[in-house]
């Protein structure tokens, strides 16, 4: 445990030293907040460009729907940011030779991987919460101020396991290859497969897959309660499975 803490502290220090701890929350906030701001400015921008007398009706979105849309805005680019920041965590260190310097000390490969996974998961979760809270605050301020905070917070808390799953995929893919780019590509493809293939399947077990959680989180924000036990269980199972595969792979790897 003590070695894990030393490794975790080192990872955290590295996230601070490389300014990821500042840039990632800012990037997430910009990504999410851009939707409500552009929605607020859209009628004025359109009015300027339209010929005089023309009328365009934009359906008014509720603050909850606005939040849900901001959240969707995050989905693909946010995932890419998460993969970009973490894909080199193990692959890069193996390529440079630092992993060899560390793993000849009393640090097991499991501790090495789990310390990285914990630090990056914490950064990702923290950044997501920061971005979402900021977006919720501004959406509420810019529009009707009738945001139901409980639904909003509940919605994005439901999305946190997905954030951790993305980090898990990226870190574990990083233990397969010495190239950070390859690791990033593998994790992105895996994520897209996990999220999109089940949409075309009819089997009952599909209900336990993570894509249901993304939809569920969206619905929760709009105030619709649906049973998410299955997808939640599925995401946790996937996280554990991917971590286990990553650990086994790293133990077998030439460093």
């Amino acid at each position: 445990m003590m070695i894990f803490m030393r490794m975790f502290q080192k990872e955290w220090k590295e996230l601070m030293g490389t300014y990821k701890i500042i840039f990632v929350p800012i990037a997430f906030a910009v990504l999410m907040i851009s939707f409500p701001i552009s929605m607020k400015l859209l009628p004025d921008l359109l009015a300027r460009e339209m010929p005089e007398g023309a009328v365009i009706e934009i359906p008014e979105l509720s603050t909850s729907e606005m939040m849900s849309a901001a959240f969707s805005n995050f989905e693909l680019i946010g995932v890419i940011i998460l993969i970009l920041i973490s894909m080199g965590s193990i692959a890069g260190e193996r390529e440079k030779g630092v992993a060899a310097m560390v793993l000849v000390k009393p640090v097991s490969r499991a501790v090495y991987l789990l310390a990285k996974w914990s630090a990056y998961s914490l950064l990702a979760v923290g950044s997501f919460i920061f971005g979402m809270l900021l977006t919720a605050y501004y959406t509420n301020l810019l529009f009707s101020e009738n945001l139901i905070w409980a639904d909003t917070i509940g919605g994005f808390l439901l999305y946190l396991p997905i954030i951790i799953l993305i980090i898990t995929l990226s870190i574990c893919a990083s233990s397969f290859s010495k190239s950070a780019v390859t690791a990033g590509f593998i994790s992105l493809v895996l994520y897209l497969l996990i999220m999109n293939v089940p949409k075309f399947l009819q089997a009952r077990w599909v209900d336990y897959l993570p894509h249901g959680l993304v939809n569920g989180a969206n619905e929760f924000m709009k105030g619709n309660i649906i049973d998410l036990a299955g997808p939640l269980l599925g995401v946790f199972f996937l996280i554990v499975l991917v971590l286990a595969v990553g650990l086994v792979q790293l133990k077998r790897q030439e460093i």
Binding site: K105, P106, E254
Partner: protein
């Protein structure tokens, strides 16, 4: 401390990097690990420190299987790779402190050891600079300092002087000379002069196969050619004639006062020759038995 390798092989796809390496070494001292580029030295070293697994065979350090009990072994092992790499946002001192923490050393011990090792390795002045700004030589020095942080019983060095200037090289060799009194040092190097100066034992591999493993003095005597070169003060026909009659002399080459004598038995020659020179009335100016350098032996074995 003991290293035992038994029939170790390593295959990367179709390339056979190691092909049945076996050796067993024990005790303190410096063990030079020699071989041409691509001979498999680094592959073997990486197996010794647990970074790579053999395809077949057994690698044991101090009686423990490296693959199964790697973490226990790391407590008593220090390793300096050929190109040491660090978290470059750290300073030299921070790296040392962090390594000390990984070995669960007390804060006071960490500070004391870090100071003395950084001083001994000649980078104390640069301790508060980020490693990013270190030269290759400075990184090698820091690499050695951190490998000694846990006061290892086995120090494994992969080309430790390759990035150092002549002064740095000399200092590093002096340090290894001192360290080998208290620990086993397993060192690979291309610079055979250096190995000859500090190693007590030699292990040589070529194309992934064992060539020899021997004590360096035994090795030299094994490869000593039976040739004696000597010079005398003035030409003496009588000496040449007497030497020609000796049964232990195989061949004589004379160039005025300089003799090159090929002998059948070095022990008899060593006892008889000074007497004969003295009896001839000549004065001995120089006397040298042809001893091969490590480089001569290396070239003879791997060519």
């Amino acid at each position: 401390m003991m290293i035992h390798c038994e029939n170790v092989t390593k295959k990367y796809n179709s390339f056979q990097a190691l092909n049945g390496i076996s050796f067993s070494i024990e005790g303190n001292g410096c063990f030079g690990f020699l071989g041409k580029n691509g001979a498999g030295k680094t592959t073997a070293i990486r197996m010794l420190v647990g970074l790579s697994e053999p395809t077949s065979g057994l690698v044991k350090v101090n009686g423990l299987d490296v693959q199964k009990e790697k973490e226990k072994l790391t407590e008593t092992m220090g390793y300096l790779p050929q190109h040491p790499a660090f978290y470059e946002y750290m300073t030299g001192r921070e790296w040392m402190q962090w390594v000390g923490q990984l070995f669960r050393l007390e804060k006071k011990t960490i500070e004391e050891r870090a100071k003395s090792l950084l001083q001994e390795c000649g980078i104390w002045e640069a301790r508060n600079r980020k490693i990013l700004g270190y030269s290759g030589g400075m990184k090698q020095r820091l690499g050695l300092a951190q490998a000694l942080m846990n006061q290892p019983k086995l120090l494994i060095l992969d080309e430790p002087v390759s990035a150092l200037d002549p002064v740095g090289r000399h200092e590093m060799l002096m340090m290894i000379m001192k360290l080998k009194e208290t620990m086993m040092i397993f060192m690979s190097s291309h610079i055979l002069d250096d190995v000859e100066k500090i190693a007590d034992h030699i292990i040589m591999i070529d194309k992934g196969e064992m060539v020899l493993a021997s004590d360096i003095q035994e090795l030299k005597s094994m490869y000593t050619s039976p040739v004696i070169r000597f010079s005398i003060s003035e030409a003496k026909q009588v000496l040449t004639k007497v030497l020609d009659e000796q049964v232990w002399v195989k061949n004589i080459q004379v160039n005025i006062n300089d003799y090159i004598l090929t002998v059948k038995d070095m022990n008899i020659a060593g006892a008889q020759l000074p007497k004969l020179i003295s009896q001839s009335g000549a004065m001995l100016i120089s006397y040298q038995v042809d001893t091969p350098s490590l480089e001569d032996i290396f070239l003879r074995k791997v060519r």
